[in-house]
């Protein structure tokens, strides 16, 4: 009995040490953790959708490196850190993590991912403003930006024949019977502050500069417009864009602000009825859409070989040709590589996405200051809820916002 057990252990040891020795000849397996959209559940359809997106990247990479295999595991955003901590305890964490920029920073702070080696990356392959989103205070880069998901307007073409290009037109569309949905989430509603001229004032408040009367008037004007809009019969505020998109899909709403990330699923459900446009401008000019970024972070548990291939893949995805193909094949996201020119005339959706990126670029500095602070987003959302439900006046809401902005580090 003892001899048999000892023999089994020796055999087992030889087997797995043999496997590791053969590593250089065997295919490389990369483990990829992918965060799904905030409003999605892990379902068969979601899985198919996200795996298709990953295939867009990995498929091309495998044409050059056929010995590389990628195993994808989907996670809900709220569960990711806990689950990766569990995996990390056994050194079984993923080699790559695809998530949004704020969470990439949380992951590296928690020791679940590692910083990008600065010297190895071609910085010119990624928009400079995007590096700022993934840069930590100590200068480390948390992840490689992959694609941009612009914030746009989605609507039901059978009801909204011509998408409103201004906020005034949006109110008129509502008055004419179209059911308009807006999010009460601070970051997702911030686009209206650009159209109504309050974003610069918010930025000044955040930067610690003394706010002038004009700034207060601008913020007050923005919040007053929001409260008046909520009083309109056909304009309703909902928790977030995820809810808006579901209601649009179900035919409960006709015009909503949405994220291009959802276009593939909305398109498959709504078909030809789905229309997209840039968010409406306002009296102060272009809107300030908050475009989210998908980033690729390097897991902390990779073997040397897995890390080498991961870095290679991370470099590969910013390649201009790959970035262009990603955008053209998906028609849902934009490249992070500034040198990629998209044929906007070939697709109205692409033109809309590019327009949104341009609108966002107009307010780049202020958005970078305000749009990506989780604490500010939380306080701002609470203030907006009270405002649109009429329990707080625009004046009181302005004061709350200014107080929250001034507290920002």
């Amino acid at each position: 009995m003892r001899a048999r057990l000892a023999a089994s252990v020796v055999l087992f040891s030889l087997l797995i040490s043999g496997c590791s020795r053969l590593g250089n000849e065997l295919p490389v397996m990369l483990y990829l953790a992918l965060v799904i959209d905030q409003d999605s559940m892990i379902e068969t359809a979601t899985q198919a959708d996200f795996r298709r997106r990953i295939d867009l990247v990995v498929g091309d990479y495998r044409k050059i490196n056929p010995n590389v295999n990628v195993q994808v595991a989907l996670y809900r955003r709220a569960d990711l850190i806990g689950e990766l901590q569990r995996r990390d305890a056994s050194d079984l964490g993923p080699d790559l993590v695809i998530t949004d920029a704020p969470q990439a920073k949380q992951l590296i702070t928690a020791g679940l991912t590692e910083a990008l080696p600065k010297t190895e990356f071609k910085r010119q392959h990624t928009e400079e403003s995007l590096w700022e989103r993934v840069k930590l205070e100590d200068g480390r880069i948390a992840a490689q930006p992959m694609v941009i998901y612009p914030q746009i307007a989605c609507f039901n073409r059978t009801v909204v024949k011509e998408p409103p290009t201004t906020l005034q037109a949006l109110l008129q569309e509502g008055a004419a019977g179209a059911r308009v949905g807006l999010p009460v989430n601070f970051s997702e509603l911030l686009w209206t502050s650009g159209s109504l001229g309050a974003l610069q004032s918010l930025g000044r408040a955040e930067s610690g500069s003394r706010t002038s009367d004009e700034d207060i008037t601008a913020i007050l004007g923005w919040l007053t417009w929001l409260q008046r809009a909520s009083a309109q019969r056909n304009i309703t505020f909902f928790q977030d864009q995820g809810q808006l998109q579901n209601l649009l899909k179900q035919g409960e709403l006709d015009w909503v602000s949405c994220n291009s990330n959802s276009l593939i699923r909305l398109g498959s459900e709504m078909g030809e009825k789905l229309g997209v446009s840039a968010l409406p401008r306002g009296p102060a000019g272009a809107p300030s859409p908050v475009n989210s970024v998908r980033v690729l972070a390097l897991g902390a548990n990779s073997s040397a070989r897995q890390r080498k291939v991961s870095l290679n893949l991370a470099r590969f995805i910013t390649n201009p040709m790959v970035q262009r193909n990603l955008s053209l094949q998906s028609l849902a996201f934009l490249p992070v590589n500034p040198s990629v020119a998209l044929p906007v005339k070939s697709s109205k959706t692409l033109a809309t996405l590019v327009q949104s990126r341009a609108d966002s670029a107009e307010h780049e500095m202020e958005l970078a200051q305000i749009a990506h602070h989780p604490e500010l987003a939380s306080i701002g959302s609470q203030t907006l809820v009270q405002l649109v439900f009429g329990t707080k006046t625009p004046r009181a809401s302005t004061n709350s916002l200014l107080e929250a902005l001034e507290k920002q580090p």
């Binding site: 065997l26 483990y31 989907l74 995996r87 073997s303």
Partner: protein, 424 residues
């Protein structure tokens, strides 16, 4: 299906990592070392329950020590915890033995606790390197036009298993409550228990069917398949199943009933889906009889309307005893036997003038039909004692032969034409 296969195969890729291999080797080494060293002998002084905890706790401690300087031993800790949990189940088993019969504990442990534990440990193990939520939605194929995922399949299997295995105790509890509320008999309680179980299992299996995509079209398809199957292969199975349900509702063959099978009283122990389990007291045998036998054949029951059984003893007394005195003595004697009921009262009859004795029949009633043989024995002993005391003779068989004439010696010549005993 292929996606699941590649997913599982892909897990082998973790062997590219040194720390993973080291953990696996440590787990294998520690568990094998424990078997090889056999430290149980050194732990004789410890209580058996504590001895069970030594190995897994040692594994956890070793994992903790390696983690102190920054090593990663999550898998080792997990193996230690799983081992500890497994051994704790053994301790739980010993505790349950104090309050539940051994057979029930064994069933509970082997059919419910251990399988659930293995499933939980397995799913948790997968979550150490993959996301079970994501794996669960992998499409395995289509069933009745609906997508069948791993989650659907596993849920269906677990729910069906729990329905079949785990409803025994709740159904028994509910039947007990109903018995108290309705004041019904024990056999009715057992029948209620079965009916509740069949109902819960039936509804549950239907719900599971709908969960995995069963719909009206699928039902028609299944019904079509069943009709063919019923006509050929599973006719007997279905017949037994329906007979069992019918008998249960009819109440003639319920657990606790006493039936005569091949002239032996047998108690119904269990009415199963296919067969009924009966206990024969004569030789403590358990008989498995297909339900349809009771449905189609004649059966004698001692418990259909009441559980009394009338028994009879036949005895002869010599001709010279007064039949009135014998009848009185038999009835009085029967009353002295404790398990003979006084009401209906024992009754003796003079039934026949036999060759050697006058034959009497003593008929009496007993409460438990299964004890007939032992009561017969007691009554017979009491009669023998009473007859001896009263001087009543139980005669041996007697035959009086009268020789009317001695036959002549037969000769060879006269033998052919002279009948024996005839005058010459």
């Amino acid at each position: 299906m292929s996606q699941l296969f590649w997913e599982i195969l892909g897990w082998l890729g973790y062997l590219q990592r040194g720390a993973v291999i080291a953990q696996l080797l440590l787990i294998a080494g520690l568990s094998t070392g424990w078997q090889l060293i056999k430290p149980q002998q050194a732990l004789q002084s410890l209580q058996p329950s504590l001895r069970l905890l030594v190995a897994p706790i040692s594994m956890l401690l070793i994992a903790g020590l390696i983690e102190l300087p920054g090593g990663k031993t999550g898998l080792v800790s997990y193996a230690g915890l799983s081992w500890l949990g497994w051994n704790l189940l053994t301790l739980l088993n010993q505790l349950l033995l104090l309050i539940i019969p051994e057979s029930s504990v064994h069933q509970l442990e082997s059919r419910l606790l251990r399988p659930i534990y293995i499933a939980v440990v397995g799913v948790n193990l997968i979550s150490q390197f993959d996301n079970p939520d994501d794996l669960g939605v992998i499409k395995l194929g289509s069933l009745f036009g609906e997508t069948l995922t791993i989650n659907n399949l596993i849920t269906a299997l677990i729910v069906s298993y729990l329905l079949l295995v785990g409803t025994k105790l709740p159904a028994a509890g509910m039947a007990w409550m109903l018995q108290k509320l309705l004041n019904c008999s024990n056999s009715s309680r057992k029948a209620l228990n079965l009916i509740i179980r069949y109902l819960v299992v039936g509804i549950g299996i239907t719900a599971v069917g709908f969960h995995i995509g069963l719909n009206s079209t699928a039902l028609v398809a299944i019904a079509g398949g069943l009709s063919v199957g019923l006509g050929f292969g599973i006719k007997e199975v279905f017949s037994n199943f329906i007979s069992g349900i019918w008998l249960l509702f009819e109440g003639s063959v319920r657990p606790g009933e006493i039936l005569m099978v091949d002239e032996d009283p047998c108690e119904v122990r269990k009415l199963g889906l296919r067969a009924t389990l009966l206990w024969r007291v004569r030789d403590n045998a358990e008989l498995l009889i297909p339900n349809q036998m009771f449905f189609t054949d004649q059966a004698i029951s001692y418990t259909a309307t009441d559980s009394l059984r009338r028994s009879e003893i036949r005895i002869g007394a010599a001709y010279h005893h007064d039949p009135h005195a014998v009848l009185r003595l038999l009835e009085t004697t029967a009353r002295t036997v404790p398990r003979v009921l006084h009401q209906p009262a024992p009754k003796a009859f003079q039934v026949q003038y036999g060759d050697s004795a006058i034959e009497y029949s003593l008929r009496y009633w007993i409460a438990d039909p299964m004890t007939n043989m032992s009561v017969v024995s007691e009554v017979n002993q009491a009669i023998w004692t009473a007859f001896k005391r009263e001087g009543i003779e139980i005669p041996f068989p007697q035959r009086v032969n009268t020789i009317r004439e001695i036959p002549a010696i037969r000769t060879e010549t006269g033998a052919a034409d002279t009948p024996p005993g005839s005058p010459h």
